[in-house]
Structure formats: C-alpha cells, structure tokens
C-alpha cells in the first residue's frame, strides 16, 4: 500500500444518552492509501459514524477522541472549524445514501453541483456552471443541459445518486467516503452507479472508503475489507482473500450468503457470540 493519506489510531466516539453513554466507535484503527477500502457492518456497528467523524460532522453532543486522526499530515481532531471547511468537499468528500433526502429539494441539481465547485474555487457563475455540466457528463448523465435544470424530485434514484457523486467529486478531493451509496437504489440501477464510481475513483487516484452492510457487494468492488461489529473492528482482510477470513463473525456472514455454484439445502444463520461485544 503506497501514499498513505489517512491514519486513524484508536478512534472512540460516544453519544451521551440520558445518563448513559452509547459507545458507537470503540478503539478503531486503520489507514487508507490510494485504494478502495470497504467498511462493512450491520446497523449500529458504527460504520457510518466513522465516516462522519472523519469530516467532524457529528452532532454536537458526540464525544470524539483518538490517539491519531491524521489526514495528509493535518490533525483532524485539532483542526479549527475554518480549517475543516477547507478540507470538506475539497480534500475529503462524502456521498450520502438516499438522493431523495440528501439533495436540497428547492434547488436545481445543476446549481447544487456548481455550488460545490464555487465553495472552493473563486470563479464566476458561468465557469462553475460549465464545470457542473462537464461533471454531469462524466457521471454519464445524458443531456446534461436538461438535467442541470431539474429538481431532485424530478429525477430517478440512479440519476440523483450520480448527481450526488458529481457534486462530491467536482472539487477533486483526495479521499471520498461513500456511505451506503447504492442501498437506496433499485438493484437494476446499482451496477451502473457503481461503475461510474469505480471509473472516477480509478481515474483520479483517490482513496475510497466504501461503507456498506453488503459484504457480497464490496468483495468485488473494493481492494480491502474491514469488518465491524458493535463499534469494534473484528477483522481486516484483502478483498480477494475474503474466503480465508478467520473471525467467526465474518465466516458467519460469508456462510449465510447464497451462491449459484454451491447449492445448499439450508443457509446457516449467524450465531452471535457475546464475546464480540467486549
């Protein structure tokens, strides 16, 4: 692994919940280079929280601590809000899950993309619009001129998500986090969106953090996989070596996946070991 861009060491995120504390992320450590890293886990495993803490966009009451949270030499934990704003969008970006909710309903999607560009480049409207149109083409949206003027409720899920990708990549960030980018889409559209994502990431040499609950999806898409459970990392393994996974949780997930080649009379269900919660 070369050009390590991101170093996370012992990240802890907790949310006060009345008198108790919910520990969403517990002692998570990993590094990211010019690769596609998957963070896989079920709901509540803490995977989305990691993404948001990298951008310091957690709710106010969240308590974040880490031994090291470093991006390209800058300390994210200690950065000021102003510094973070210059990082967000420009250097680290995030694609959200459902374009029905993640796009501003009263703004045309082209304008939203152009806005992402103008946030970090002092250019006029015309230039930003052209860049946005260019970007719409890059995410394979036909008739970008027409699409520019549409509102989010007028576009399909796949198109909206591609607009989201355009928006988050237009400033050419070094790391992009994709938080369940295809989970809200029809299965038939997923491949298309993933294809767009793969092409853009590979072409620009960005680092990608792909957050998902779908192990099967990421094993073909990403280079490395991190398996999370209850806020902790249980296993870290290369995607192509996933079948050699050692942790019983990972094995349990893999074994419960149906396969066209190996037919089984019944699929085993995952047996949770309370020891994993420790």
């Amino acid at each position: 692994m070369n050009d390590i861009k991101l170093r996370v060491e012992s990240l802890n995120v907790s949310f006060p919940n009345g008198k108790e504390m919910t520990r969403a992320v517990r002692g998570v450590s990993f590094a990211l280079g010019k690769e596609k890293l998957a963070i896989v886990g079920e709901s509540g495993s803490g995977k989305s929280t990691i993404g948001r803490s990298l951008l310091r966009l957690l709710p106010r009451k969240a308590i974040v601590s880490a031994d090291r949270l470093e991006f390209d030499g800058s300390d994210i934990l200690k950065a000021s809000e102003l510094e973070m704003r210059s990082i967000r969008g420009k250097r680290i970006s995030m694609i959200l899950q459902d374009p029905k909710f993640s796009l501003n309903p009263v703004m045309r999607i082209g304008d939203q993309i152009a806005e992402a560009y103008r946030a970090h480049a002092r250019v006029g409207r015309k230039i930003a619009e052209e860049k946005a149109l260019d970007m719409l083409e890059k995410v394979q949206i036909r008739e970008p001129g027409k699409a520019y003027r549409l509102f989010p409720h007028e576009v399909s899920g796949g198109m909206g998500q591609r607009a989201m990708i355009a928006m988050m990549m237009i400033a050419e960030p070094e790391i992009i986090i994709a938080d369940e980018p295809t989970s809200a889409l029809d299965v038939s559209v997923r491949e298309q969106v993933l294809e767009v994502l793969r092409e853009l990431v590979d072409r620009s040499g960005m680092g990608l953090i792909f957050i998902s609950h779908d192990l099967n999806l990421v094993r073909h898409f990403c280079d490395r996989v991190i398996v999370m459970y209850s806020g902790k990392i249980l296993e870290e393994i290369e995607a192509k070596r996933l079948d050699e996974a050692k942790h019983p949780y990972t094995r349990g997930l893999l074994d419960s996946l149906p396969s066209l080649t190996h037919r089984r009379s019944s699929l085993p269900t995952l047996v949770r070991d309370p020891a994993w919660l420790a």
Partner: protein, 345 residues
Amino acid sequence: MKSKSISLTALMIRMARRLGVIALTIFGLLLLTFLIGRVMPIDPVLSVVGPDADRSTYDQVYKQMGLDRPLYVQFGIYVNDLLHGNLGKALLTGHPITEDIKRVFPATMELATVAILLGILVGVPLGVFAATRHGRLGDHVVRVLSLFGYSTPIFWFGLMGLLIFYAKLGWVGGAGRMDIAFDGLMKSKTGFVLIDAIAAGEWEIFFSALRHIVLPACILGLHSTAYISRMTRSFMLAQLSQEYILTARVKGLSERRVIWGHAFKNILVQLLTIIALIYGNLLEGAVLIETVFAWPGFGSYLTGGLLLGDMNAVMGCVLVIGLIFVALNLLADALYQVFDPRTKS
C-alpha cells in the same frame, strides 16, 4: 416528460374544486352574518325609528326594511344588496356603510402593514437564531420572550406602552395618526398617511405620523412577532435535521450559507403562508389597538357601531373581515402552489 396537457387539465380541475369550496364558504359566511344580524333580541326597527315612534311609522319602516317577508326572501335581498355593494346605512354617519369602510380601511391597513413588517424583520431572524442555538441559552431566551409575547393582552400592553413611552418618556406620539395640529392639512390620496406625506413632500407631517404609528404598530406587531419567531424556529428545526443539510456541510459551505441558502430557502413558502394568515389576525388585533390609540380605522368603526347598537355597521364590518380572511387563505394556498417546486409536477 409527462404531457403538459394532462397536468394542465388536472390543475384546472383542482382550481375549480377549490373555487367551489370557497364559494360555499362565502355562502356560509353570508348566511351566518345574516342570521346573526336578524336573529337577535334588539329590534332593528326600533333602532331606526326610536322608541317614541307611533304604530303606523313602525309598520311603515317594518315594511320598508322588508321584515314582513319570509326569512329566505330577506336573505335573498341581503345577498342581492351585497352584490351591489350595499351594506346599508350607518347610524353614526348616515353614510352608506361601504363608503365608510372604504374611508377607514386604509388607516388599519397602514397599521397592519407596518406591524407585519416589524413582525417579519424581528421575528424571522429571532426564529432562525433560536433554531441554530437549539437547546442552548439563546434558544431558551427567545422561546421565553416569544412566550411572553403571545401571552400578553395586546390592549393592556398598548396602554402600558402609552403610559411609559408617551406619557413618561415622550419618545413617541400619543393617540391618533398624527399631531392634532396637522390634522386635515394634507389631502389624502391613498389613505396611507406615510405614503401621502412622502409624495407631497410634507416632511413634518411624515415624521409626526411616523412618531404616532411607531407605538401602535409595535404593540400590534408583538403577537405576530412572537408567533412568527416561534413558527420560524420550528420550521428551521425541522429542516436542520434533514439529510440535505449534512450534504451542504460536507460540501464545505460556510455555516451562514447552510442556514440561509439551504435551510431557510426551504421554509420560505411555509413562512409566506403563515404570514398571509397572520395578516388576517392583525386585523383582529387592530380592533383593540385602535380603541386604545384612538386610531381612526376599521376597528374603531366596528367598536363604534357596536356601542351604538348599529347592527348593519357591525355585520358589514364582520362580513368584510370574513371575506378578507377567505381571500388571505386563498392567497396562502396560491403561494404554496406557485413557489414550491414540488407541487409543480
């Protein structure tokens, strides 16, 4: 793209249905005011002829007023009169009520307009501020302030205001629209003293009018400011928890742009809608404020008619207010249709 003709027909059907509902509502309104005006213990004939009239005069006026006809015929006459703009004659002035209302209404409108401008200019930023400081001190302060705002009896607050700011401090003008010295000196073109004064270049009158409108407008605006700030706050809170706000922050936009360019833009339509409705409530508050400040507007006319027992004047005013309310409701709906892109498809 769906064919435009289908959506046009659908739109027209929707409009027709709405108009039907509104027509029905207005009809009900008329019926209500008619019934209130007729079914009451005060004898309308007596209030016209006086208690000393003899039998034949009484009968004559009785017939003249159409009171011997069956009720539904009377209603028909009533509606017919209305359609011709005839609300009857006022007891106080002897003029047709419609003329009187036309004369006094601009004074109230001027007051209500200044009041709502204040409500917007103060209430909206306060509401946005409170939403961005949710759960913290700033939020609590604004909430408590607006709570006091709409719990206060407006007429009492007006009196207190007069006592403190006029009698004790002399900062503002007293009762009436301007200093008595200026009364009648200026030709009233629009009925809006502030506009007329500027147009005529009469700066002394303008400032006098300004001094006189400040206090009643502020007091009248109190309820609307409190209400607007409360509604703005809750609209903003609802928006700030949405996903697209996170998207805006991920893009690295400044907090100001996130709040105003994204969240606030999404509540504009809702705000405009309630502002239209609040304007109607201001007309109601005007009734009390005008009594306190001797403001020669619609409210004073209404209460004047009330104290005299002039049912025609009272009912005429009530009807006018009802119609305005219906119109404002319509406006609020129309604003939604026009400005929310989601309703366009």
